[in-house]
Symmetry: C2
Subunit: 500 residues, 2 copies
């Protein structure tokens, strides 16, 4: 009976309103049931996109370039790990809005936070956080983002932003300011610097660079796009800074059968990093102030690199007096089984900066104290983040703790990797290179065309997956993904592979 009532709450607007207006059932009991209300399995009743999605697409496409849209969703009805489309299909979502939904759809903890009138006031009164923060802001930053189980170990400072691109852009600025300050060695700005920067000229506007890696994705605004190298369609026709790009390891799988080759691959890439530091310092006169790297290159194809690679990258970066920025926009927030993927790497000291967004609800970056700008207004904008997202993040992090979700991610991820490895052995002419940490998992198909075909077949059998890189399929389920969900995915994939 309770379950029925709650189900109704999550599907019928009118009833839901009644409930919110003081029904006898308490939020808590009702919401505890809601996760059980996921469909038992995917339900596909039309082709996807179905007729209603196709009709809405025409409407949207008449007012913007909308060709990237896959279908229109019904977010009132979507629940947990299942996304419902407007044609009545219920899809198991292992992609979760490009890896940005931490707990799945309509999670009770998030809905509960939003039903609180105090939180509604925080959302309605969005301040310029850098000038007039609310009375609870320092406490929220400390208890939520800087909580000892949440913040990357060793990083004491936090700057909030709104998205991944802006987080990387402002992390770059923080690096440049720190790097220039070291060169200035305590001296004040000169008149020439202050004047020349106003029209983008040296010395006030310095020729510094950020080193990034081939295959990387760090965002789409002009600074971050200059460090993005995953797909040409992201970059073509857009001006960019002439900054250095090193090779990122391209490993042979399975790793345990290719140890020596992969070590050599690490060495090859690290040698390039060394060369580029030198070349940009001496030849190009555009010294590398910082290095940016994803712990796992996500958009670029789920390219992993070894802990040893990152340890050595950190050593080289330090040697050249540059800062190491780990971009955890896609890996952060738990999907690798730790809050931050770089925690798997046993670095000898913390990275200098860690950027985040997506599952963290808002953007931002952690950094070591030594990178703190001396002056105000250097890293600044109107909003400096968004308190409404911290409210949601608080609910997310509490749920992660309460339900021990990082442990679940590790367990379910290990199970998936094991099962996928069996599948790979069985269908080794179709898929290969299974890899992952936690449920942040991918495998390659033998061709881009086959990858696209498998993703499409998965969709038509009720599973929303995503591609990345040239021929990879990536899994980005919510942290609430279980072995039961995994089995649905695995069985479906097996049935598709059998038909190839």
């Amino acid at each position: 009976m309770l379950a029925n009532k709650c189900q109704t709450v999550f599907s019928v607007r009118k009833f839901s309103r009644q409930l919110f207006r003081g029904h006898a059932i308490s939020w808590k009991r009702c919401l505890a049931v809601s996760l059980a209300e996921e469909p038992k399995k995917p339900v596909v009743i039309t082709e996807i996109p179905g007729p209603r999605s196709r009709s809405l697409f025409q409407e949207l496409n008449s007012i913007q370039q909308a060709s990237s849209v896959q279908f229109f969703a019904d977010y009132e009805k979507s629940v947990g790990n299942y996304i419902m489309d407007i044609d009545g299909n219920a899809l198991l979502d292992v992609y979760m809005q490009i890896s940005s939904m931490p707990l799945g759809y309509n999670h009770p903890a998030m809905l509960k936070a939003l039903a609180d009138p105090v939180n509604q006031k925080i959302i309605a009164n969005r301040p310029a956080l850098g000038v007039f923060p609310g009375k609870d802001w320092p406490d929220k930053l400390k208890k939520i983002l800087l909580h000892k189980e949440i913040a990357p170990p060793g990083l004491s400072h936090i700057t909030t932003m709104m998205c991944g691109s802006c987080s990387n852009e402002n992390a770059f600025k923080t690096i440049f300011i720190w790097y220039a300050e070291k060169q200035r060695n305590g001296a004040p700005f000169t008149k020439e610097e202050m004047e020349s920067c106003m029209t983008n000229q040296v010395p006030g506007t310095p020729r510094f660079s950020i080193l990034s890696f081939k295959g990387a994705f760090h965002g789409r605004t002009l600074g971050s796009l200059s460090t993005t190298h995953s797909k040409y369609i992201h970059k073509i026709d857009i001006p960019a800074f002439d900054w250095p790009t090193a090779s990122f390891p391209a490993y042979k799988y399975p790793l345990n059968e290719n140890v020596r080759e992969n070590q050599q691959e690490d060495e090859r890439c690290l040698a390039q990093v060394e060369e580029l530091f030198e070349k940009y310092k001496t030849e190009k006169k555009m010294p590398v102030a910082g290095v940016i790297a994803e712990p796992i290159q996500a958009e670029g194809g789920d390219n992993h690199a070894s802990p040893e690679f990152f340890q050595e990258l950190q050593r080289i970066t330090k040697k050249h007096n540059a800062a190491l920025l780990i971009d955890e926009v896609q890996t952060g927030g738990g999907p690798t089984g730790k809050m931050w993927c770089h925690e798997h790497f046993n670095l000898v000291s913390p990275p200098d900066l860690v950027t985040f967004s997506k599952k963290m609800q808002l953007g931002g970056y952690y950094h070591v104290e030594s990178l703190r700008p001396k002056q105000s207004y250097r890293v600044f904008n109107t909003w400096m983040g968004d308190p409404s997202k911290i409210i949601l993040l608080e609910a997310v992090l509490e749920t992660i703790r309460k339900e021990n979700l990082l442990h679940r991610v590790t367990t379910v991820g290990d199970y998936m990797l094991k099962q996928l490895t069996s599948l790979q052995n069985e269908f080794s002419t179709i898929i290969n290179s299974i890899r992952g940490r936690g449920t942040f998992i991918a495998f390659n198909c033998v061709s881009p065309e086959l990858r696209d075909a498998i993703v499409k077949k998965l969709l038509n059998k009720g599973i929303q997956a995503g591609g990345c890189g040239t021929a990879a399929i990536r899994l980005r389920p919510a942290l609430t993904f279980t072995e039961q969900h995994a089995n649905i995915f695995l069985d479906t994939l097996r049935s598709i592979l059998k038909q190839q």
Copy 2:
């Protein structure tokens, strides 16, 4: 009695919760009263920042560079045009979070929208709008952002983003894509272009530029910062593109006594624009693909330019086959008495793009159909805006319509300008150059020091104002600002000027 109850609702958490859970008083009646609950006048009981603000500052400053913080606010208690700080001071806010709050604090229409469980689900389930938009998204875009009373006349296309910087960055990209496409003349991308862009090299990464103006502010990410030229502290030590910067008119006031000089000033600046188009095409080999301008340079000091200046700027831009982007991040959403400030300019055709953020709650840009990219994923990111902000924007725009706020802004603005002109005549050795449209008003003080002193005195008498440029004080009240509020400001300013 009703008023009392409602007052309680807005100040006591417990009672408020009871009400939200189904009290007998309807939202509507209650909220209609709430605006009347503003304090009659400012109340200052401590120095500002007060002891509690100073204590919280220490806390915040230990985890981030926080020197830009002025005080900590109590947003639960703030109401309408009054911001309450945590030391118990009630300040008339004519700055409104750097011009970003359209209706003041705790506006009933916004709170009502957030109390709706359907909207709460929209907020909890934040989609990747470019891939899996919700079923109501096209309708929301059409009925809210593209509503005929809201969209800039002639602009049929809308792209949503999250902040002003990202809006300008993506508008730049849209311009570059369009400009390259014209040069390509229908030909497909070449292999060389597709490959070279991956490491930021020509021809795939072209040397195009955006022309901007001295004194401009267009944002803080690396692309938008390259077009920002308002204060050195925003720019120093940060790499930038070597793009052209023209002079923006610096008028002599009062305008009606300096007609010929100001015309000559327009001509001088426009001649520079022409020269820079040529220089960047022939000498620098970095053709100008677009021109960006604020209708009123806000951060740079509330620098106005004539309709004739903008008409001629549009003509020159068109002549050189470039796109004209009007940055309405600070001017958009009503403060000049029209939805968009450039509507005051009687341009012969619409600008090619108009960017917005701040009062519009989310970022984005309108553009003409001809700038629509042919391919998907060229202007793209994970979130592509935020449906939770559209919910708030809908409430804001409905309130603007229902309460005829643009008319109020015009009336109150005219009144303010008239009264300030009297003050200027009375205190002409202290303040000058009164200027404005609607309530988007500024005046200069005879020195930066005096400006800072007056802003501080205003604060200590209970008025939160803001500075801009070298020696200007800018007014950015909410659209709900009345003559009664104006009189409080004017009386306080007069009392301060008298003491100088």
